[in-house]
Amino acid sequence: MSASFLPTGVEYIRLLPEIILAIFGTVVMMASPLRPKESRNFLYTLTLIGLVAALWASIAAYASPGTAFQGMVIIDGFGTFFRVLVIGVGILTILISHQYLTRERAEPGEYYSLLLLSVLGQCVMVTANELIMLFIGLEVSSIASYVMAGYLRHDRRNNESALKYFLLGSFATAFLLYGVAWIYGITGTTNLAEVRAALLTPGLAPTGMLASAAAALMFIGFAFKVSAAPFHVWAPDVYQGAPAPVAAFLSAGPKAAAFAILLRVYMTAFEPLADRWEPILWLSALLTMVIGNFAALTQTNIKRLLAYSSVAHAGYVMVAVTTNTEMGTAAAMFYLASYAFMNIGAFAVVAHISRQGEKYVQIQDLAGLGVRQPLTAALLSVFMLSLIGVPLTAGFFGKFYIFKAALDANLVWLTVLGLLNSAVAAYYYLRVIVVMYMQEPVESTNSLPPLPTGLKATLWGAAAGTFLLGIFPSLVLDFAGRSAALVK
């Protein structure tokens, strides 16, 4: 008995990415005060090495899929996909943050460490096979990101953002934890497969309603994290106030991980209750799309615009979740991957244009960018077109597969309304392009320094990813399709 508590060697390999991230997160934090003052690149390089090693470990771990640590985590295609995605988001964020932190004269050590820990939390989330593990991952990820949102502590906007994020986040997480407690009370287990088995047991009728209420409580926590309506209210304020690279990170990494657990929990444990939660998801998906898109129409601040756009995109992914089919899951996975590229790309351009102290964050500050810096404007246009969903970009196939999955699942009205929404969205994205190309340069664009090499490389990478997924979607979709069948 006692021997079986000791994990075997292969179980360590399955958890290797998390182990690597934890070690590097700690090492970076400890190395921060010890490093020579003038070498900013040391911690940066160390962090990148850690993330790349974790990326490699995620792929290596997939060679031996299975559960680990008493079935607390599960390494399957789905988890691996999201592990690679969140670590990839971490890498892109580091690449765009380095320049930003130098510019804002901020200490990079804690930032990098927090980012590694946040990614660690997300990796735990996406491979969690039971509710406690899931909650721990969520908290690790969240607490690190609360701090990151307020990283520039002399900036009032940062403080406001972090405080709002923290208070509301804790509030929503309490609902989640309460739901977990209920589930444990009803079924006596926190393992997803066992919860499912218990819910499928006949004669559960009196507790069926309780189980549904528990599912609803957990949904509130998830919906908050993915910024689905009506729990999205925090997102615009937090994204607008947070440093631009952090906003990019929040809208891609934690959101993808939260969608991963939403998909995993609802498609496995709560699948027997699908009749009950499908209408709520339907409504939430629609509200999220409508609120995100229509509120974005009147924004003048580009970060706030991207924040609402991020809410709207969460709505599209919610459509995929509502389908409750494997095709929908695959579509959601593909969408989150493509969204990571285009959204980080867009935020990176914003971070560059905003200048020190984020002075220039109005859409009008982009006027004439097409004349002053054709390359920057062209790259931002690519990301905007992809966010609209124009063919040849990742956004097109992302939307295509989601709405196709929705049609196949007979969600005709949701599809129609979703498509109308994405037509509305074209307006505010195109407005950015219009301002860049059809207005005379203003002070902010006239004084814009050229793109730093590192940032340029990241932007090229994000644009290349956007096009690659838009021209050869099968590269990602094939894998997503194969791993969408979750272990039940």
Binding site: L168, A215, F224, P230, V233, P272, P279, I280
Partner: protein
Amino acid sequence: MHHLWLIPTIPLAGSMINLLFGRRLPKIAVSGVAIGSVLLSFLWVLNVLSGLGGLEEAHIERYFTWIQSGDFNVGFDLMVDRLTAVMLLVVTGIGLLIHIYSSGYMAHEEGFSRFFAYLNLFMFFMLILVLAANYLVLFVGWEGVGLCSYLLIGFYYLKKSAGDAGKKAFIVNRVGDFGFSLAMFLIVVTFGTLDFARVFAQAKDMPVEAGVGTLTVICLLLLLGATGKSAQVPLYVWLPDAMEGPTPVSALIHAATMVTAGVYMVARSSVLYLKAPLAMDAVAIIGLVTAVLAATIGLAQNDIKKVFAYSTVSQLGYMFLALGVGAFSAGIFHVVTHAFFKALLFLGAGSVIHALEGEQDMRLMGGLRSKIPVTFATIFCAAVAIAGVPPFSGFHSKDEILLAAHHHAPWMYWVGVVTAGMTAFYVFRAIFMTFFGSYRGHHHPHESPWVMLGPLCILALLSLGGGYIHIPHFLEPLFPLAESAHESTLVYISVAAGLAGIGLAWLMYVAQPGLPDAISRSFRGLYTLVYNKYFVDEIYDAVIVHPLRDGSRSVLWKGIDEGVIDNVVNGVGRSARNVGSVLRVMQSGYIRSYATWVVLGSVIVVAAISFLGGSR
């Protein structure tokens, strides 16, 4: 695996290098990268073909699923069979020679690296086109070569005529490509796939259509696509204007390779066409009409490149004639020999233009025989080949086509023979005006460097002896051998027509130089008609372009766009913004109100899930 993907990818890499770094590289490095990439690609083709041996069966490489949607999926698949093998050798072989030639021809031009980047990109798309194993990948190549053609026609973009010609080519091709797209949709609907192997396997079991059926419609739409790309009636008008591009481009894209894509595509779809006799007749008649029309226009042109351009249109007509009468292998045979002699004619013309510092008007040439002897000798080889003088290459392929046409319908043979006579006449007219008599211009002609003359000599050898590469025999497993008449009299007649054309040209432009003027004076009306290319451009302008433009301006723009759409859009926009400002109420900025929203939402969600719906 034979790594077919390397064949197109190497030129693509060359193109990317020149596009990104070309401006900073010395010219020798730029041309080295460009020529080297095509050379490697050519060598890889040889390696693949020798590795695949006889190619009795098609060799298909499936890389990945490109697009999947329900039951329908398209793979990124490449294949080689004997037809592809022939095309690969022509494209990479001729492409290599023209790349080498270009490094000399373009040496003094602006935009050296841009030119080679586009040219390599063209090679990439052209190779994708011939290697494709399904219609969609073929279409990628098809559109890609169209794009490169547009970019290269408008290469001298500061010249308005070049820009206009590029646009014209692009727009005219759009019409054809629309037909191609419709054909693809119809193929998907009919066969459920775009994969060549599967489409043709299903089509083989279908009955031959007596009237107009699905297959006929598919074939006619494909034909519309082919008429655009391969410059056939009614969409041939872009090709003569395309001569605004640099001459090597005219040789590579607008003579040897891209314009034969339509021929290749129809031959590739031969299984479909054989089930649709009506479409076959359409192909034959369009080919014949084009051949005659373009040949007559060629009789009266004075720009040396325009003469060869109309000649290309006319020869492409021959190829379509061959396809239409069922002699697919003869059509492809003519593609190959035509690639040899027409590339040579253009490159030779380029050498002449180079010698005269940009002069293209044949009336200002003459007597160049002694001044640029190597160019003269090589271009003369091409001329005898295209005129169908035995035993040179054009004779063999043209003969196959004419004999097959005679078996199909004797009148087609006779029209073809007359066209052959005209072909011989206008080509030798060009030769005599350029190289014989006395020099009428005022430049100082100089022979081109050997980097240009080398490719000319190789092409001259191929033009002379290329007819003995017996391509129809090689393609036998793919195409049923067309029945053709075997009468030596018919051969003698067509050869005689060619020789008569040469003789007449000699008489009019060397022996009696006053004769052409006299003739054009006595047939003033006819001459004006032909000289102005039957006013086809003007007719298209009046019938299509003007009504379209005026209609767009008065009805679509002023009426529908400004009147209806703008009002609707503005109205929708206003109401959408109103909705937006309502939503702003939610966003007060206070944490307490946000928390209230969370609580309200929670109550609704929990209540709804708990009390609505029943468990399964």
